[in-house]
Structures are given as structure tokens and as C-alpha cells.
């Protein structure tokens, strides 16, 4: 007799809706050849339905926690988790996806008949990452990681005419599959050391038994951190990021970077802080080292870039370091706050990049932003707010996010790391201010820029989110405080 897992449709319904949405986009396109707007409604509808179901999951999970019924938070015989952490991660992914599709709208339109493929790939990438944040089994997590990553590799090279985009796609693909191989090798070593594949099972095993020779487990942890470190572009595994951010179509880079960071860090914090937390004394110094390297390298190298997209890539490396500081602080709510705030700022910033230098092209020289405050006050104003948010100015969500992860690390005994992080934030201020100075203080006689309504909407949402979460942080802090991993 074969034991089949118990089926809980609610647990996977958001992912199923997204995958069916991707299929529907493709089939509607080949059957009726509608204008691209119709496809956007199909894609947007499936994102909205998935988000609605996820909210239902959130309510069900809150009820279960209130009733003390923690068993109902696992589904599919312990394959899928429905704890607050997974559901919040999924909501953050869906919000980033909705904003990303809207910000990249011009890109999908320019693709013409292939716009449906772009939309379907976006939905599939979100499906994969959504499985990744919700999976309890390391092999399931790997499957989600691959579904999401492979869709992103194709998205990076979707504009066939552009050689820079081809280069970005190939680099992303090679480095990414290399990282996936390293990750799955780490999973294999974890299994070899403990005979456990589930995150909760690993946690129980390691707290229940004393492992006399933990070498194989420690190497496994190391390989998993390296593999996921590639995906979130933490130094020294960041080398692909600048080329990919620069070469991939501008309309979609913000989305790609945002979802990869959310899913990658959700997986890192779940594995490190739930599964192998008994080895914290061994791996936290290494994580702190990665954090220091990412923050300093990202901030310093961003200073010398002459391309806004490369600058945002190196700032992404620095942000990976700041979020790693939160991992060192061993508290997940600070990480979740940071991820959502940063992903939304990133999508907004790249919406501006796409509006300034074309949504399907590659590269975005700093000189193109000269006098942007005159050519388009909307773009300049919102980019200023978003960059100040990334820099971590008080009264923006970036400040609350940085304060949260720094405080966690400080109280976990890593005072030196927080001091380095604050220094890196000061360096980072310099290059964010450089863009703002160029936009406002230098003149340029180029033509005015028309900003489409949908981009205005995305920028409005991103700016409002950055300011509201900065001025009234409790509006999001109260939510992430409930988003605890099992």
C-alpha cells in the first residue's frame, strides 16, 4: 500500500491560480490574439485572486494560532507550511509582482505578440518563489527555486534583438544554475548528516540529538548559504548582479531583483533560524562576515558607477548585506519588514529607470538623468523619495527597516557589525545623493518625458508605501510581528 499525502487545496491554491493564470494568458493569446491589455487583465486577475486566497490563508492561520492548533499550519503531510512567515512572504511576492507587471507594462506592450510569453513567465516565476517561501521540505524548496529562477533567466533575455540582454541572460543562467547545484549539494549533505529533509524535522532532530561529528552538517549549511547567497546577490557571490541589472530589460529588472531577494532571504532565514538554529554559534560569524563584505563592497563600488542600473545593482548588494545583518539578529520580523519595504522601493526605482531610458533597452547612463526635475518633476520627485528610502533617511520605511535589523543584531551581541553597518549606510548615502544632485542641480535641454498613467500609479503606491511605513511604522510592524515561522 502506498501512502498518499493528505491534500489541502487551500495551501497550494494561490500557486495553482498563478500557474493556471500563466496557462490562460498563453491560451487566450494564441486563440483570440487580443490587444495586450486583455492579457494584462487575465494576469492581473490571477494575481488578485491569488492574493485574495492568501489573505484567507492569513486569517485561517491567525485563527489556528489563536486556538493553539499548530498542526493545521502544515499541509501535504508536512511538505507545505501555512505559517504567518510563509503567508506574509507570499503576500510580499504578490505585491511585488503586481507592481512589477504594472511598472513593466510598456515592456510587455513593446514585445507585441510575445508579450504573452513575458506575462506568463512573470506569473510562473512568482509561482515558483511562492512555493519556495512556503515549503517545509528542502527538495520542494529547490523545485520552487528552480521554477522561479529559470523563468527569470528567460525574462532577462526576452528582448531577442539586444545583445546586452543576451549577455545578461547567459550570465544569469550560468551563475544561477551553478548556484542551484551548490545549494542542492548542500541539501544532500544535510540529508547525509541527519537523514532529515524537512526544515521542521531538521530542527527537531538537531535539538533532540547531540551530533558528535557535525562536520558534514556544517559543510551542508555552508553550501546552502553559498547557493542562496548567489540568488540574493550577497558579496562575494554578487558578480553577476551588475551585468544582469544593466542588460536585462529595464521594465522588468525591478520585479526580477525584488522577488529573487524576497524568496532567497525567506529561504535563508527559514533554514538558518528554524532548521539548524542549534549551530548558530558556528555559522553566525560567517553570516556576519558575508554581511560586512556585502555592505562595504556594495556601498563602495556603487560610488564609482556611471550607470544608474549598475549603481542600483551594487546598492542591492549592500542591501543584501543589511538584510544579512537581520539574519545575524536571528529575528525574522525585521527581515520581512526590510524585504517588503526594499522590494517596493526597487520596483519603483526601476519604473523610473524604464521611463527615462526606455523599457526594453539596456544601460542607463547617469548623464541621462541630468535635469530630470525639469523634464519630469513626477519621475524626479518619486525617485528622490525612493532613493532616500533606500538610503534609510528617517521618516521613510528604509529607516525603520534598517533600525529593526540593526537593533536585532545589536541585542544578539554583534555590536561591531552594527557599527560597520551604520558606516556603510553613510557611504551609501553618498551615491544616492549623487543621483539626486544630478537630477536637481544640473541643467539639460532634452525634451520633456511623458509618464504613462500606469507608471504614475506604481510610483504613487511605492512613494506612499515608503512614506507611510516610515511615518507610521506600526502599520506594517504589527503585521510582521504576527508573521512568525513555525
Amino acid at each position: 500500500m502506498i501512502l498518499t499525502p493528505e491534500v489541502s487545496w487551500l495551501a497550494i491554491l494561490p500557486d495553482l491560480v498563478l500557474a493556471l493564470g500563466a496557462a490562460a494568458v498563453l491560451l487566450v493569446e494564441v486563440q483570440w490574439h487580443p490587444v495586450t491589455r486583455v492579457l494584462a487583465w487575465v494576469a492581473g486577475g490571477s494575481i488578485a485572486i491569488a492574493a485574495g486566497i492568501t489573505v484567507l490563508q492569513w486569517l485561517a492561520a491567525s485563527d489556528a494560532v489563536a486556538a493553539g492548533d499548530l498542526g493545521s499550519l502544515t499541509a501535504f503531510s508536512g511538505m507545505i507550511l501555512m505559517d504567518g512567515f510563509a503567508i506574509f512572504g507570499r503576500l510580499a511576492l504578490l505585491a511585488t509582482t503586481a507592481l512589477g507587471v504594472a511598472a513593466g507594462w510598456q515592456f510587455f506592450k513593446d514585445l507585441g505578440r510575445r508579450g504573452a510569453e513575458g506575462l506568463a513567465l512573470v506569473l510562473l516565476a512568482t509561482t515558483g518563489f511562492s512555493i519556495m517561501v512556503a515549503s517545509n521540505n528542502l527538495v520542494m524548496l529547490f523545485l520552487g527555486l528552480e521554477v522561479g529562477s529559470i523563468a527569470l533567466y528567460v525574462l532577462a533575455g526576452l528582448t531577442r534583438e539586444d545583445r546586452k540582454a543576451d549577455e545578461a541572460a547567459i550570465k544569469y543562467f550560468l551563475m544561477g544554475s551553478f548556484a542551484s547545484a551548490i545549494f542542492i549539494y548542500g541539501v544532500a549533505l544535510m540529508y547525509a548528516g541527519t537523514r532529515q529533509l524537512t526544515i521542521l524535522g531538521l530542527g527537531d532532530f538537531l535539538s533532540g540529538f547531540i551530533v558528535s561529528s557535525p562536520g558534514v552538517i556544517l559543510i551542508g549549511i555552508g553550501l546552502i548559504v553559498v547557493g542562496l547567497g548567489f540568488k540574493v546577490s550577497a558579496a562575494p557571490f554578487h558578480t553577476w548582479a551588475p551585468d544582469v541589472y544593466q542588460g536585462a530589460p529595464a521594465g522588468i529588472v525591478g520585479y526580477m531583483a525584488g522577488v529573487a531577494k524576497i524568496a532567497g532571504f525567506a529561504a535563508i532565514s527559514r533554514i538558518l533560524l528554524t532548521a539548524v538554529d542549534d549551530f548558530e554559534a558556528s555559522f553566525l560569524p560567517a553570516i556576519a562576515g558575508i554581511a560586512v563584505l556585502s555592505m562595504l563592497l556594495g556601498s563602495v563600488l556603487a560610488l564609482v558607477q556611471s550607470d544608474v542600473r549598475r549603481m542600483l545593482a551594487y546598492s542591492g548588494v549592500a542591501h543584501a548585506g543589511f538584510i544579512m545583518t537581520g539574519v545575524v539578529g536571528t529575528s525574522t520580523d525585521g527581515i520581512l519588514f526590510y524585504l517588503l519595504a526594499y522590494a517596493i522601493q526597487l520596483v519603483g526605482a526601476f519604473a523610473v529607470v524604464a521611463a527615462v531610458s526606455g523599457s526594453s533597452g539596456s544601460g542607463s547612463a547617469l548623464s541621462e538623468y541630468r535635469g530630470l526635475s525639469r523634464r519630469s518633476p513626477v519621475l524626479a520627485g518619486s525617485l528622490t523619495v525612493l532613493l532616500l528610502g533606500m538610503a534609510g533617511l528617517p521618516l521613510t520605511s528604509g529607516f525603520v527597516a534598517k533600525f529593526g535589523v540593526f537593533a536585532d543584531a545589536w541585542f544578539n551581541g554583534y555590536e561591531w557589525l552594527v557599527i560597520v553597518a551604520v558606516l556603510a549606510s553613510v557611504i551609501a548615502f553618498a551615491f544616492y545623493l549623487r543621483i539626486i544632485v544630478i537630477m536637481y542641480m544640473e541643467d539639460d535641454e532634452s525634451a520633456l518625458i511623458e509618464v504613462p498613467g500606469v507608471v504614475r500609479l506604481v510610483l504613487g503606491i511605492a512613494v506612499v508605501a515608503t512614506l507611510v511605513w516610515g511615518i507610521i511604522p506600526s502599520s506594517l510592524l504589527d503585521v510582521v510581528a504576527d508573521a512568525l515561522p513555525l
Binding site: 502506498i2 496557462a23 486563440q31 495586450t36 507585441g112
Partner: protein, 135 residues
């Protein structure tokens, strides 16, 4: 299993590599060596080659090969399910139905997009943007 159990495999490896090396080196010394242009040509079923091998050939073979691989892999999964489907019950039916739906959906899509059309010119018709969205 101790390391000593692998000794026969190591011996076999050495023997196989040695046989290849000895026969290649020995024949290099003993065989007659009288090359002619015909003998140095690439071997093509004994027929004189008519064209250079490095010519360009249509990439449509690649597309068909890719589609073949997808459906080949699908069949592999279906065989495994078919062997034990009574034991898996409705769970297996549902899982295979979802899986098959997505594969068939792919088939419908590539078919409609003209990927199965052998005539490259006719296929291009599908890919050209014939619907222009109002700006």
C-alpha cells in the same frame, strides 16, 4: 563496504585503460602508413562526401527535438503512474491530470503559434505582430 571491496573495479579500470593504450600504441608502430586524400576524408558510409560538413542547416530540427524531449519525459512519468495507478487512487489521478493539463496546454500553445509547422516561412506568419495595440 570497505575500500578493499572496490579493488576489482580499480583493477578492471586499469586493465581497460591499459588495453586501449597498448593496442593504439602497438598498431601505430606495426601498421603500414600510406595516406591518400580519399583516405583522409571524413568517413561518410563509404560515399564520397559532396558538401563540407560545416554548412548551415535549418534550426527547425532543434525545435522538434525539444518538443520531442518534453513529450518523451511526459510519457516516462505516465508509465510509472500507469504501473501502480490502482494503488495511488484518486490522488494519483488528480496529480496526473494536473500534470497532463499543463503539458497539453503547452502543446496547444506551440501548435497555435506554428511551432509544428515545418514550413519556416509559414511559421514566421504566426510570430509577426499582426495585432497592433493603440498607443
Amino acid at each position: 563496504m570497505t575500500l578493499a571491496d572496490y579493488l576489482p573495479i580499480a583493477v578492471m579500470l586499469v586493465l581497460a585503460a591499459g588495453f586501449v593504450a597498448v593496442s593504439l600504441i602497438a598498431s601505430r608502430f606495426f601498421r603500414p602508413d600510406r595516406p591518400t586524400p580519399e583516405k583522409l576524408d571524413p568517413y561518410e558510409c563509404g560515399i564520397v562526401p559532396e558538401v563540407e560538413p560545416s554548412q548551415r542547416f535549418p534550426v527547425k530540427f532543434y525545435l522538434v527535438a525539444m518538443l520531442f524531449v518534453i513529450f518523451d519525459v511526459e510519457i516516462i512519468f505516465l508509465f510509472a503512474w500507469g504501473a501502480i495507478w490502482t494503488e495511488l487512487g484518486w490522488f494519483g489521478v488528480a496529480a496526473v491530470a494536473i500534470f497532463t493539463f499543463f503539458v497539453l496546454e503547452t502543446l496547444a500553445y506551440v501548435w497555435k503559434r506554428g511551432a509544428l509547422d515545418w514550413n519556416v516561412k509559414r511559421r514566421a506568419r504566426y510570430i509577426q505582430p499582426d495585432v497592433q495595440e493603440a498607443a
